[in-house]
Symmetry: C2
DNA sequence: TGCGCCATCCAAAGCGGTTTGAGCGTGATT
DNA sequence: AATCACGCTCAAACCGCTTTGGATGGCGCA
């Protein structure tokens, strides 16, 4: 059933039927109702392909996922972000299109979205320092919202981000207050913007208390269980091991815990651990009393917010970029306690 | 730059240019090369919206993700599957479109794909027993491939699946060979098809050795860290606790490990654990010697295979359904050893 | 009575490709 | 020399919708 058929069935022109369905004012209310009823009865759905061609809009938002040839990996955080964003898209009649490409052709993927007209805007994931994709998107004139921020970017851009610096600063202060002075940082890859900010929060807090920055207590790697484990093993084996860890994710936190327990120590008593918790749906940080003390911020919620921002930008093309900084909450769990020999 | 412009620039008709670019035989080779060169020079990309309308094909594959209102969750396995499938799609010029919807409107999502013409086929995720989506897709005439199988389905369908029964049977036998006779099953939700098959593999192996099936050693829940932990805690607290666990996923395996270590036991020595490892990119099971002994099967690879199968079905509309059963390998890690009081 | 103004509806022209059905030279065939 | 087939190219229709720019007719008002 298409527009034309529906129109002839009703003895009306396609024009009128289209207008009736799309709520234009120049159609009689009685006619409109008749059309609506008929549309429902015949289960008419306008063909999206035709709408897209006619209106020149794709009614779709693109997400480019570079394929893990080297560092980056399809990470679990991405899945939750997508879920949040996707929810917003379908509520607004937009499609979400994912483009999984080898990372050397990421640029081309964005260009194609534009030149082939398959997306009205994109979300930029995992921004790095001086991210080259920002000037690229400016150049090709594609609306976008960054999930995170890009330190060093000179062009304006819209973003949604967690206050990573502040979160890690607070977490560090919390550990310091508990008497810990040797705190290991198990960070994500430090060419990623969020990791840079987290380190800053950590060092800022230490410096503010007059404590030295010890490079041997700072590691940076992918946020996997194994790399969390390795980093903790290394630090714990040092001459002057940390009594606490600040860890970039729940998953690497599990590796850290494994390293701690393997040494016969108990997390929360002998060694304190604070993780950053993205509040992933399949990786809940306990229930009643969380396993990990954590800085928590829902990445799914961030997805929702970023998607709303993008749709708004597509609809209104504002000349000022939009910005939204989300604060992480510090939630207390079982993994932290006073520094040994203090309490 | 569109077709018409390119055509006038070349002094040719749109027809000829279109044919030249699409490899039709009735165009002079010299002309074709001239056209190709010009297309590249002007960076011409055909507008997908127009192609889609003209050809009647969407050049896109849909994936419906029901939003976790109750049980189902956006699981990490999904992310890797998507990555594998997406890779195949973009290599073949297809788009991947994700539709995130409340689970009560999942049906409508499939219907919309069809009636609005936005997808040429879909992948069906997480099939359950007697899955109603299979008759639905048959009814609306949408090509599809199931990731997994649907016990109880009467209509034919194409699928890609891991031999879950066999994997868990082998794993159980392996534990039995090590002298374990009390083996706890920490399974996924048992209305999911894969979980049913895994349980069957487990019970089959026990029965074959004349061992009883003890319901108190079988649990079924979401595959999260916390639920793995809870299940293991419960079983270990029983009067006659298991000496080994068979666990549905890496994540729940971590919960099981936590429960074991919390009791002061050591995994691999006091208690053996075998997990199913989906070989997720951000959740690698160790390196040199894997942490967990595991039945392993790459879900990403499954994504690739399922996508290829679907594209083939879309292209050829075979009348026989296609089927592909992948075998999981049993890899030995550090988490298994002889039953206590044996070796 | 005549005029202008709404309210309502419609014909037709896009949107940017693909595809059908001809047309037009040219060289081979009869 | 007339015919034919073939190789190449093109004009135009079409995909299913939106949108522009009229038409038409009824009504109020002078």
């Amino acid at each position: 059933m298409n527009l034309k058929e529906l129109a002839t069935r009703l003895g009306l022109s396609p024009t009128t039927v289209s207008r009736a369905l799309n709520g234009y004012p120049e159609v009689n209310e009685a006619t409109r109702e008749r059309v609506m009823a008929a549309a429902k009865r015949h289960n008419y759905r306008p063909n999206t392909r035709a709408i897209r061609l006619a209106t020149g809009r794709a009614m779709a938002v693109g997400h480019v996922i570079p394929l893990a040839t080297r560092h980056e990996i399809v990470n679990p955080i991405f899945a939750d972000f997508i879920a949040g964003a996707g929810e917003t898209y379908s509520r607004n009649g937009y499609d979400m299109i994912l483009s999984v490409v080898p990372d050397e052709s990421e640029d081309q993927a964005y260009r194609d979205f534009k030149s082939r007209g398959s997306a009205d805007g994109v979300i930029l994931h995992a921004p790095r320092m001086d991210d080259p994709r920002i000037p690229l998107l400016h150049e090709i004139g594609m609306p976008f919202v960054v999930h995170g921020r890009a330190t060093g970017a000179t062009l304006p851009y819209s973003w949604v981000d967690v206050n990573n610096r502040r979160a890690f600063q607070r977490a560090t202060e919390f550990l310091l207050d508990l008497g810990h002075t040797r705190i290991g940082l198990v960070n994500g890859l430090e060419f990623m913007d969020f990791a840079i900010r987290r380190r800053k929060g950590y060092t800022d807090a230490l410096t503010a208390r007059g404590l030295p920055i010890d490079p041997s207590l700072m590691s940076s790697d992918e946020m996997t269980e194994v790399s969390g484990y390795r980093a903790a093993v290394t630090m714990l084996a040092g001459p002057n091991p940390p009594t606490a860890f600040l860890v970039a994710s729940m998953i690497s936190g599990m590796g850290v815990r494994r390293a701690i327990e393997e040494r016969g120590l108990k997390m929360g008593r002998d060694i304190s651990v604070i993780i950053h918790d993205d509040d992933l749906s399949y990786m809940k940080n306990g229930g009643d009393v969380p396993i990990f003390t954590a800085t928590r911020s829902s990445v799914r919620e961030a997805g929702r917010i970023a998607a709303e921002m993008l749709l708004d930008i597509i609809a209104t093309t504002p000349d000022q970029p939009r910005e939204r900084l989300l604060e992480a909450e510090l939630i207390i769990g079982q993994s932290t306690g006073p520094a040994p020999g203090r309490a």
